[in-house]
């Protein structure tokens, strides 16, 4: 039987840790969550040699073991708890050859936990260009570890890393820093109280505010008695500790690490001169955004049309080939249109994740943070709010989680509250179908009018986010001083394999997560539309025929009349009718009402719901867009005219119609107050603007 080795990958952000993870595991990886919290958990497996396999855990990027965010707490909790099922046999600290000094700080901390630790010096292909030389032998001796130089871009060092992992038992586990040199009295007292424990582990227990397993809690509570010292004293000790660690690192690197500054051709400063220029920097950023949104619209339209018509044909085929009955009807009118409503998403989502991951991988995102900080502070936000606001265009859920690296609580809370205004990909199918129905396919100044409308909707989302943050900011008192530290990484050519895996993984998990909800709702809708209470539903056939007895209708028209009467008296029809008075001033009928209700689970259900509603009882299977275009009001006017279309788009732009986002906001803010505020505020704004738009345009 193969032996399973547990490996944890640890490292600072921007060190290529994910590349190492991808190189080891390939596509044998899965992304989940740590139990109870929303921190992403990436794990995978790989074969090290014929007899040994490894289970690899990619821990969240962290600068040190002094946690300042929930992501970082995960790392400490795991490494302090030997009883955790993921507790590693061996830790691999991944560092970037150019920032070795800063990266080694984390290494010395991990090493002091007395876990066998390997040091990977990544991006070694940059050494020659940057004039860096490393004395590997000496470095290994000084740090008490094995050093592996890797270059994931050229697939170098992977075999050496695997071999080193197999032989992890040979790694020394002696700590590097003697804490008693910081404060002899305090630390010797601590050690005497817990003679069997590692001193650094005790120190982390005292300084870090993290959860521990119940087994360890007793011991830890006793250790917390050492907290008698004031916070200021603790902080001073932590600073001293950091300084001591840097002394050790400097001492080591002085003899083992040389940089020939003349050889370092500085690409960074040349690119920075343009990308963070007072004028060109902003021009470039906004031009880039424009390009991204235009291309999402243009590039995804062909595969989307294809998917749409394929699903319509599939439904038709099922209807024609399978024997008629409840099951066929469920399949053709419930499940297939519902699934089509999610599959149609894949092109845009993939493009969005592609662009976002390119921005992050290249190092450009930090420049945007730098450029936008001053401007966004006016609205009560931080430069770091840019990342949630931009990734909010994919999905608000990861975006809300991405606010974690905003240090200031007020700025973070405001970002969380306004991020759901940004146009997430779930709104995209709603917009796309409405735009193609109500906006003519013309070009204005050489730009596609439909594309321009879409761009306008994105801008509207951002503008509303800023405006509401600006209004909300005066309601929050600020007590903490704003502090903001952002690393400005080197520019890097995005690693195609990383980008590819990210796009694949994110699209996959998005589609499966959203797919489950959409499928469930499609089936539910189908059920509610296929059954109804009492005679009007069950005897629809006779009722309509009798009512039209003196009315010379073709059989076809009569059938349509019956289907519509039946839907009106089904459970879903009754529900839609019930809310019709509220939404009529916005220009919506009861069928749109049904789609609105079901959209509360997730916006993307809108298209699927309409597809299901319009499919039930209809014989021909045409693409959903044609069905919507054919829908008529009682007075013969088309339902989806300009006024209703714009009103719907505005409603979807501003309304909080996403239970998952509310759940995540509750989790991240630890209170129901904020999600409820969000829900109330956004619904009011959506209703008022949609009302105004419809009344003006119609």
């Amino acid at each position: 039987m193969a032996h399973f080795l547990k490996v944890a990958l640890i490292g600072n952000p921007n060190t290529g840790k994910t590349s190492v993870f991808n190189a080891l595991t390939g596509l044998n990886q899965k992304v989940g969550n740590y139990p109870g919290i929303t921190v992403e958990k990436k794990e995978g497996s790989c074969r090290l040699n014929r007899t040994t396999k490894a289970h690899i855990l990619d821990l969240p990027g962290t600068y040190s073991l002094n946690a300042s965010s929930m992501d970082e707490s995960v790392v400490i909790e795991l490494l302090l708890n030997r009883n955790n099922k993921d507790f590693p046999d061996v830790a691999v600290v991944v560092t970037d050859v150019e920032n070795l000094k800063r990266n080694l700080l984390l290494f010395t901390q991990i090493k002091d936990l007395e876990i066998p630790t390997l040091l990977v010096v990544n991006m070694s292909d940059q050494m020659k260009r940057k004039g860096i030389s490393i004395e590997v032998e000496q470095l290994q001796a000084d740090l008490g570890t094995q050093v592996i130089l890797t270059s994931m871009r050229h697939q170098e060092g992977v075999a050496a890393l695997k071999e080193a992992l197999v032989n992890y038992r040979q790694l020394p586990t002696t700590p590097l820093l003697d804490l008693e040199t910081i404060d002899a009295d305090y630390f010797s007292r601590l050690q005497k109280t817990f003679p069997t424990e590692s001193l650094y582990k005790l120190w982390l227990v005292i300084t870090q505010d993290v959860n521990f397993s119940s087994l360890e809690r007793k011991r830890i509570q006793a250790a917390s008695d050492f907290k008698v010292q004031s916070d200021a004293v603790l902080k001073r000790l932590q600073q001293k500790e950091t300084i001591k660690r840097y002394q050790i690192i400097n001492q080591t690197l002085k003899q083992t690490y040389q940089v020939d500054n003349d050889a370092a051709t500085d690409l960074r400063s040349r690119i920075d001169r343009i990308l963070i220029h007072k004028v060109w920097g902003y021009v470039f950023f906004f031009a880039l955004l424009f390009l991204i949104f235009q291309s999402i619209f243009d590039w995804s339209s062909v595969p989307m049309d294809f998917i749409d018509s394929s699903f319509a044909q599939l439904s038709q085929w099922v209807n024609a080939e399978l024997p008629p009955g409840l099951f066929t009807s469920l399949l053709a009118e419930g499940i297939i249109p519902g699934l089509g409503g999610i599959v149609i998403f894949i092109p845009q989502i993939a493009f969005l994740f592609l662009f976002i991951s390119l921005l992050e991988e290249s190092g450009y995102m930090s420049r945007v943070v730098f450029l936008m900080d001053r401007g966004l502070r006016r609205f009560g936000l931080s430069g770091k709010s840019v990342i949630p606001l931009i990734s909010g265009t994919a999905c608000a859920i990861p975006a809300v989680m991405a606010t974690r690296n905003i240090e200031n609580w007020k700025e973070r809370l405001l970002t969380i509250l306004v991020t759901p205004f940004t146009t997430c990909s779930a709104r995209l199918p709603v917009y796309l179908i409405l735009i193609s129905l109500v906006i003519p396919e013309r070009s204005i100044l050489g730009i596609n009018a439909q594309g321009l409308t879409l761009m306008g909707l994105y801008i509207l989302g951002f503008a509303m986010a800023l405006l509401s943050s600006w209004i909300l900011k005066s309601y929050f008192k600020t007590t903490t001083k704003s502090y903001f530290v952002v690393e400005m990484p080197n520019y890097k050519m995005p690693h195609l394999k990383n980008v590819g895996i990210t796009v694949l993984e994110k699209t996959k998990s998005f589609v499966t997560e959203a797919g489950k909800i959409i499928l469930a709702f499609s089936v539910l809708l189908w059920l509610m539309a296929s059954f109804g209470p009492g005679e009007p539903f069950t005897k629809a056939d006779t009722i309509v025929r009798e009512a039209n007895i003196n009315n010379p209708l073709t059989e076809e028209a009569l059938e349509a009349e019956i289907a519509s009467y039946r839907l009106e008296h089904s459970y879903i029809g009754i529900l839609g009718k019930a809310i019709e008075p509220v939404i009529r001033p916005l220009g919506y009928d009861w069928k749109i009402g049904i789609a609105l209700i079901s959209s509360f689970a997730a916006r993307e259900v809108f298209v699927g719901s309409l597809a299901t509603i319009y499919s039930v009882g209809s014989e021909e299977e045409t693409p959903i867009k044609n069905k919507m275009a054919q829908e008529k009001r009682a007075n013969g006017q088309v339902v989806f005219d300009l006024a209703t279309g714009i009103s719907l788009m505005l409603f979807y732009a501003f309304a909080m119609q996403c239970m998952s986002t509310l759940a995540i906001v509750k989790k991240e803010t630890n209170s129901w107050r904020w999600p409820l505020l969000q829900l109330g505020l956004m619904t009011v704004i959506a209703y008022v603007t949609a009302f105004a738009a419809y009344q003006i345009l119609s």
């Binding site: 930090s366 903001f484 952002v486 080197n490």
Partner: protein, 74 residues
Amino acid sequence: MQFLDSLEPGEHATIVDFETEKLPLKLIEMGCLPGNKVCLLHRAPFNCPLYLEIDGCHMAIRREVASLIEIERP
């Protein structure tokens, strides 16, 4: 006394001291330590934030934080 926020773009200096109570630990962990060299690379429009190189590490911080760090010009 001179502070980090008074540097001009392109100017080099050495960190002498900082306000222990107020300076975030994260900044110290990123290499902002007494004795280390610092260079101001760029200032964003309206003079904030500041793009610095401290001991080979590149980062951006706001003016208020920079004003807590005492420097010495060569």
